[in-house]
């Protein structure tokens, strides 16, 4: 009986990975412990070892395949005595209209999602791919756009968002910096003042604290201080917020910090389509834009349009699930929690309306108020700390502008008011969970 070799996980939260290279071929005899293949995620690379001795009968996932689901079979090993490999391995006939190379992949494997589709059709792509496409498309469109940050170039990006850009655009436009956030943020501001369109990547927004002086004092205030004479068309982007098991200095949500600053636009998308459309809009925007990505979203797949001019206007929230009983306002990773909670509550007959803010500054108050006036009940989900948070601001504005429409106090689901702990159980307790959203909505009713 043949044994499946399964796609291993490099971390508890890993769901997909890339099979970069097969080190054995079909028909090879392998012993337990032999290295079969190399896999990678945005974080690490790892070797896959054979778990038993036998013949590598079938490779189910060709090398170079991205988005291979954890625990999906990638190969078959037939336990056997050493000997010559069978001359031919029978394969299933190719599926109609599918490239031959995909024919051996079991139906249902994520790789099938990568099959070519007609242009302008909606595909499913990860948030990471969406961001990469946005960068590449805008760099092709405008020669003044360049990417600058730590390891964005030859190393392909610490979060692999800039994967392949160095190969296409070269070192002039995909610029690796020294580890000098304060300096390179200021450099980006200067380049923007000179009329270029820098996209500055922070490996993590935690490191942007080194650069916050230039973001606030230089980028955000110059248009005002100059009476409109000097513009600063710059994007600061990178992963923001929680990341698994990295401790307090690498897992803070800075949404409220930047949303506080006049002169900035602040964007925090959830879906791949929004990530792509908003990043493209941010790059084309004449103002400084803080673009907050989320580590946990990079590998999540969403439908996304293929249109190279797919833009999402900054400043517009989106009702991503309609409902009449309560409004849940969320952004970035929190939207996933809100949608999951809405599914659960729907089972109890509670219809939740989920508003994805998408932009944190300027806030789309008309959309928020319209929903709150409809449902009369509102909860706000954010990963950041409660005091002075995005939820606190939205709550204040709802109270100011729609107090009479409320049937219950506005409630917040936030990160706990503590530095992020390392231990897995404590970390989970410190972050908003779907169950917290469910409980909070129940409490509103």
């Amino acid at each position: 009986m043949a044994t499946h070799v399964l796609m291993p996980a490099l971390s508890p939260e890993m769901k997909f990975g890339k099979l970069t290279k097969w080190l054995k071929r079909e028909g090879d005899f392998v012993e337990a412990g032999d290295i079969l293949a190399e896999i990678e995620t945005e974080k690490a690379t790892m070797e896959v070892e054979a778990v038993e001795t036998g013949v590598l009968e079938r490779i189910l996932t060709p090398e170079g395949t991205d988005n291979v689901a954890v625990d999906s079979p990638i190969a078959l090993i037939e336990p056997a005595a050493p000997g010559p490999a069978p001359a031919a391995v029978s394969v299933e006939p190719p599926l109609p209209d599918e490239p031959t190379i995909l024919a051996r992949v079991p139906a249902g494997s994520p790789v099938l999602a990568q099959a070519p589709q007609p242009r302008d059709a909606t595909r499913k792509i990860t948030v990471r791919e969406a961001l990469r496409e946005a960068l590449a498309e805008e760099m092709r469109r405008d020669p003044d756009v360049f990417v600058l940050g730590e390891e964005v170039g030859d190393a392909q990006g610490a979060s692999r968002v800039t994967h392949g850009l160095f190969q296409e655009f070269g070192a002039r436009r995909v610029v690796d910096t020294p580890i000098a956030e304060h300096g390179f943020a200021g450099l980006g501001v200067g380049a923007a003042m000179a009329g270029l369109k820098p996209v500055i990547e922070f490996m993590s927004f935690n490191f942007a604290l080194q650069a916050v002086d230039h973001i606030v004092n230089s980028a955000a205030k110059t248009l005002y201080m100059s009476g409109g004479a000097v513009h600063c068309p710059i994007v600061f982007r990178g992963p923001n917020g929680a990341r698994a098991r990295v401790g307090a200095q690498h897992a803070q949500d800075f949404s409220a910090w930047f949303a506080h600053i006049p002169g900035l636009k602040v964007v925090a998308p959830y879906s791949a389509a929004d990530a792509k459309g908003l990043l493209k809009a941010a790059i084309r925007d004449p103002n400084p834009v803080i673009f907050l990505e989320h580590e946990h979203l990079y590998s999540q797949s969403f439908p996304a349009p293929d249109d190279p001019d797919h833009l999402v206007e900054i400043g517009l929230a989106r009702v991503c699930r309609a409902g009449g009983d309560a409004t849940v306002i969320a952004f970035s990773h929190g939207v996933g929690l809100a949608l999951a909670a809405a599914d659960i509550l729907a089972g109890e007959g509670i219809e939740v309306e989920v508003v994805d803010l998408r932009t944190l500054r300027p806030l789309d108050m008309p959309t928020i108020l319209r929903s709150v006036r409809k449902t009369g009940r509102c909860a706000i989900v954010e990963e950041g700390w409660p005091q002075g948070g995005v939820g606190a601001e939205i709550c204040a504005r709802i109270v100011e502008e729609a107090f009479d429409d409320l049937d219950a106090p506005v409630r917040r689901v936030t990160g706990r008011d503590i530095p992020m702990p390392y231990a897995a159980n404590l970390e989970k307790m410190a972050l908003p969970q779907t169950a917290d959203v469910v409980a909070t909505v129940r409490a509103l009713l």
Partner: protein, 348 residues
């Protein structure tokens, strides 16, 4: 220089950039000619004198309560910016700290608009929203005017990055003081400027805000040594010495040789700002005497060379005083900004 090896930017002589941006397109070198004239000794004297009389008047208006907040005067350091402006091409960029009035005038800004900004009036260069420390004249290549000590060093490095990216042959001259030289972002900027061989000249205006024995002991000109950036000490009280050193460094930058540090040995004759009487400065220590004044030196040179007589110099002074008086009058009379301006210019 090892840094030369990894220089993808400087290696490109001509960027594929789609031409000049709006600021560069607005650039008008003719506004500089008003300040520098023919660039001769008399014109340099006139330029330095304009800054001197402007700053004296600013001090007066501050004392009268017409100028609020901070007011950092440039008196004593005039030769630095005037010499560098003469050394640079009209298309090169200048950027400096909050001690910027002289740089603004040297980059062709209208003294009336600069003074009116300091009094917070609608006719000010930033519409009254910036103040003494926050003015810009991109049409004259001047990019501020930065209130955070050393912030302009990183931003200036970015201007130079844009020049290299476009391959447009422009050079950025970034001015900062001896105090700012200790900021971490200065070292970060030096690393990047050296690594990418950016067309920039770092001008340290060493007005010796701190007693020398509080420093590291090594000259500020050597601050780039670890990055392979050459440096030189320059007599910052002599406008021609500044020009000569500036021309060499700017030429090197323009030719792809990368950054240079010029430590201008200068002296600020007033306190740090108008709020600071400057009493801590070298108490008991001999000033270098009146002959160290860059204006006196230029004046003596003009007379010695017979380029002009006392009467000519007096008439230049009268002309400059009249211009500054006109600026002060404008700044005092100009209305405050319209309340409608309060929330404009936050976003485009």
């Amino acid at each position: 220089m090892a840094a030369a090896l990894s220089s993808p930017l400087a290696a490109r002589p001509s960027a594929s950039s789609a031409g000049e941006n709006s600021f560069a397109a607005d650039f008008s070198p003719e506004i500089l000619s008003d300040f520098l004239g023919d660039g001769g000794e008399l014109a340099l004297y006139r330029g330095m004198l304009l800054i001197r009389r402007f700053e004296e008047k600013a001090g007066l208006l501050f004392g009268m309560g017409l100028i609020g907040g901070f007011c950092h005067l440039y008196i004593g350091q005039e030769a630095v910016v005037v010499g560098m402006r003469l050394a640079a091409s009209p298309r090169d960029q200048f950027i400096t700290s909050y001690r910027q009035h002289g740089h603004l005038l040297a980059c062709g800004a209208d003294p009336k608009a600069v003074m009116a900004e300091m009094t917070g009036r609608s006719g000010g260069l930033s519409g009254g929203k910036g103040g003494s420390m926050h003015m810009y004249a991109p049409e004259g290549g001047f990019y501020g005017g930065h209130g955070i000590v050393a912030g302009q060093v990183s931003i200036g490095t970015g201007l130079a990055f844009a020049n290299a990216y476009r391959g447009d042959g422009r050079v950025c001259v970034a001015f900062f003081g001896d105090g700012a030289a200790d900021q971490g972002q200065v070292a970060e900027s030096l690393v990047m400027a050296a690594r990418w061989r950016l067309p920039i000249v770092f001008v340290i205006e060493n007005n010796r805000a701190l007693p020398e024995d509080e420093g590291s002991g090594a000259p500020l000109a050597d601050r780039g040594a670890a990055f392979g950036i050459p440096g030189a000490q320059v007599d910052g009280m002599c406008v021609q010495s500044v020009r000569e050193a500036g021309e060499g460094a700017i030429f090197r930058a323009r030719e792809g040789g990368g950054p240079t540090i010029l430590e201008m040995r200068t002296e600020r004759f007033r306190g740090h700002s108008m709020a600071d009487p400057g009493k801590y400065r070298r108490k008991g220590e001999e000033r270098r005497g009146p002959s160290s004044d860059p204006l006196d030196r230029q004046r003596e040179k003009i007379l010695a060379l017979g380029l002009a007589g006392e009467a000519d110099l007096k008439s230049i002074d009268a002309e400059v005083r009249a211009r500054v008086g006109e600026a002060a009058e404008y700044a005092a009379q100009c209305p405050e900004p319209d309340p409608g301006a309060l929330e404009t210019n936050v976003l485009l």
